[in-house]
């Protein structure tokens, strides 16, 4: 195996055609994921994080298309591939877990067969061998009494168990990378804890890589090694999870950290991010966050602000990132 990244997204652009115009949903996003690494992708609704995932696995909505960039999986560019070619890659190389397991699973097919289907199609397993593999996977993801549950339908499962079934399906063909789109948002905190532990353990045991999309910063802290923050279709900050979340270098990340209530630090009042997310049909000039940013200066409105590398293996798109550290020091939080 090479030591380079498993997945490398270079300057990805996704445009969605709507009646209101062309939405620049993903605008020049570059990401690298190493083998066995869990990368978090955070941002608010409409920031383009889910679109990035869907572009990677080739399931964009009908109005959306990739207008530029490369998606290199093991050195092979996925962008020019046909659906038939992508079908051969989805499963054995790359798979996905969705937020709503109830709508992602087939309601009229027994869960055992759904887990076995992938190995039969992709790896040519016989019916009995595939069933054996499905039982093994059900055990691995912690579904109790797999022999009995094999013949059950999704509606007979609780939300947490359905998500375990989704994970078993995603794992069935031993992919190199699993894309997770808010897999725990619909779950209770106790069940979320179980699923996060499971994903974390799988990631460490089998060396599978994860891209974990969520809006919940503490969840990212729990499961990811590195994190990339998206705003208005662009990456605004990237780096090691603890660095970025505890000591942000972009005012948007800082805003996310300061606006969320925390069980550990009770503050008198939360600091909301003023304004609302930008229109991606006609985004603001310069830095897209500048209309909502307390640190904005004249130079922020002039030209685009791509990610720049900072010392310590992290990057930021902010021209005045030093202000974040000052604001944090004034708050008395950070570096927990």
């Amino acid at each position: 195996m090479s030591t380079g990244p498993i997945l490398s997204v270079q300057d990805l652009n996704v445009r969605i055609t709507t009646r209101r115009g062309i939405v620049r949903a993903v605008d020049g996003v570059s990401l690298d994921v190493a083998a066995g690494e869990a990368l978090g992708l955070v941002g608010e609704s409409g920031s383009g994080k889910s679109m990035t995932l869907r572009a990677i696995i080739g399931v964009l909505p009908a109005e959306g298309r990739i207008t530029g960039g490369q998606i290199l999986l093991d050195g092979v560019d996925l962008v020019p591939l046909s659906q038939a070619e992508l079908n051969r890659i989805r499963g054995p190389k790359i798979s996905m877990i969705f937020q709503e397991p109830m709508s992602a699973l087939n309601p009229v097919m027994r869960v055992g067969n759904q887990i076995a289907e992938g190995t039969r199609v992709h790896l040519g397993y016989s019916k009995s061998k595939a069933a054996e593999r499905a039982l093994e996977l059900m055990r691995r993801v912690g579904i109790p009494d797999p022999e009995r549950r094999f013949r059950a339908y999704p509606h007979e499962f609780s939300g947490g168990m359905r998500q375990r079934v989704m994970i078993a399906i995603a794992l069935s063909c031993d992919p190199e990378i699993i894309l997770c789109d808010e897999p725990t948002t619909a779950l209770d905190v106790t069940i979320q804890d179980q699923i996060l532990r499971l994903l974390s353990r799988l990631c460490r045991e089998s060396g599978v890589s994860l891209i974990f999309v969520t809006h919940d910063l503490p969840v990212v802290a729990e499961i990811c090694d590195r994190v990339a923050v998206m705003y208005g279709g662009q990456l605004v900050e990237r780096g090691d999870v603890r660095d970025v979340l505890l000591d942000p270098r972009h005012p948007y990340t800082l805003g996310l950290v300061r606006s969320a209530p925390d069980v550990e630090h009770v503050r008198d009042s939360l600091v909301p991010i003023p304004g609302s997310p930008p229109s991606l049909v006609s985004p603001p000039s310069g830095c897209r966050f500048h209309p909502r940013c307390g640190f904005a200066q004249d130079d922020c409105t002039v030209q685009p602000t791509p990610l720049r590398d900072l010392p310590g293996g992290r990057s930021t798109a902010c021209l005045h990132y030093e202000r974040c550290a000052e604001a944090l020091a004034a708050d008395g939080i950070g570096h927990g």
Partner: protein, 368 residues
């Protein structure tokens, strides 16, 4: 009017005793043939008190009955057992309009809880007119003041809900609840449907309103960070019962029920690390049992790391801890220094961690 002659008591503003709400499930025809209805016991004997000016949070997993309890307290759902008292007076089964006015609700989803065909102004004016909150001539000015109070401009009067963002809609919903000058505001997951950065504005608003208007707040939430931010008292619900209640400091600082400990341990924290989560067992094992088949004895015992034989037969009652006034726990081993969750959970091999007892004896009649 009824609220005029209600004596202002020194007791709790709102209190509930032995409240139960049951839902019949399955075919009613089959139930009649069997002479026995299957009952889902959503709320199963809850006692609680809410003092004037307090902010109490009800927390628990989905299906624990917290929303049903809130609806029952607000008089929006009949109770099957027990009674609700307001200001020392037992409220009748069918509440008068004046009684309903005293407790108002804000719902989770501001997209479905506002009438899409009424402007905000006409919605508020209608409320004010029907309940005679202010004389007819002052209605417009009153509504405008309400909107200012929740941080919306005067233009909001003529706008329809669809013209607002999620956070602004939730402000409208709060204005609607406040229009009747309630004593108690019940907020059922008021921020769960909103984006993170917007949640903060609504949480700050609720907190400010509490200070400005002296509102009594009942917050229902599964998010313990939100609870910690807004409330000074917390009640933890599990399968239709309150299993632990106390001040926020008691509950977060010295949780006694194994379920509360599990809930707290399950919260993701910014300072956690991925490596830490991969090791060790989950904070609470398994799924909550169905409210149709509530376990005998202590209802948490099927997932409890410290369950003993007596938990299967004896239903623990809420009892107050020594030296901790107001801190009540329904566990046989509370306040005794029993082994902590973490110690027991860490020994469970990860492979078995999700395993639950396959068959659990249940008491189908509901009463222990």
């Amino acid at each position: 009017m009824a609220d005029a002659d209600a004596a202002v008591g020194t007791g709790p503003l709102l209190s509930a005793s032995d409240i139960a709400v049951h839902f019949p499930v399955g075919s009613q025809l089959a139930a009649r043939a069997r002479h026995h209805e299957r009952m889902l016991r959503a709320v199963d004997g809850v006692d609680m008190e809410l003092d004037r000016g307090d902010a109490l949070a009800l927390v628990g997993e989905s299906g624990s009955g917290k929303s049903t309890l809130a609806l029952a307290l607000a008089g929006l759902r009949p109770v099957d057992r027990g009674q609700v008292s307001f200001d020392g007076r037992v409220l009748p089964k069918h509440r008068s309009r004046a009684d309903l006015r005293r407790i108002q609700m804000v719902f989770q989803d501001p997209y479905s809880s506002l009438n899409p065909r009424l402007t905000v102004g006409s919605m508020l004016r209608e409320l004010v007119r029907v309940h005679h909150v202010v004389p007819g001539g002052e209605a417009d000015e009153y509504c405008a003041r309400l909107l200012t109070l929740v941080g919306l401009g005067q233009d909001a009067m003529r706008a329809y809900p669809r013209q607002f963002s999620g956070g602004q809609r939730q402000r409208v919903a709060i204005a609607r609840a406040l229009a009747l000058r309630p004593d108690v505001l019940v907020a059922d997951e008021p921020v769960s449907a909103l984006d993170v950065s917007v949640q903060a504005t609504i949480l700050n608003l609720l907190r400010d309103l509490r200070g400005e208007l002296g509102l009594t707040l009942l917050l229902i939430s599964h998010n313990l960070a939100v609870v910690r931010h807004l409330c000074d008292r917390v009640a933890v619900m599990y399968l239709g019962r309150i299993v632990e209640t106390g001040s926020a400091d008691q509950l977060f600082g010295n949780p006694q029920h194994p379920y509360t400990r599990g809930l707290l341990a399950a919260i993701p924290r910014l300072s956690d690390s991925a490596a830490g989560r991969a090791q060790g067992g989950p904070a609470v094992v398994g799924d909550p049992p169905s409210a149709l088949r509530i376990p005998t004895g202590c209802r948490f015992r099927t997932r409890c790391p410290i369950a003993q034989a007596r938990c299967e037969t004896e239903d623990p009652a809420l009892r107050t801890g020594p030296g901790e006034p107001g801190h009540q726990v329904a566990c046989h081993f509370a306040f005794t220094g029993a082994p902590e969750n973490g110690a027991a959970g860490a020994n469970v091999p990860a492979e078995l961690s999700a395993e639950m007892p396959a068959e659990v004896p249940v008491n189908p009649d509901g009463r222990a």
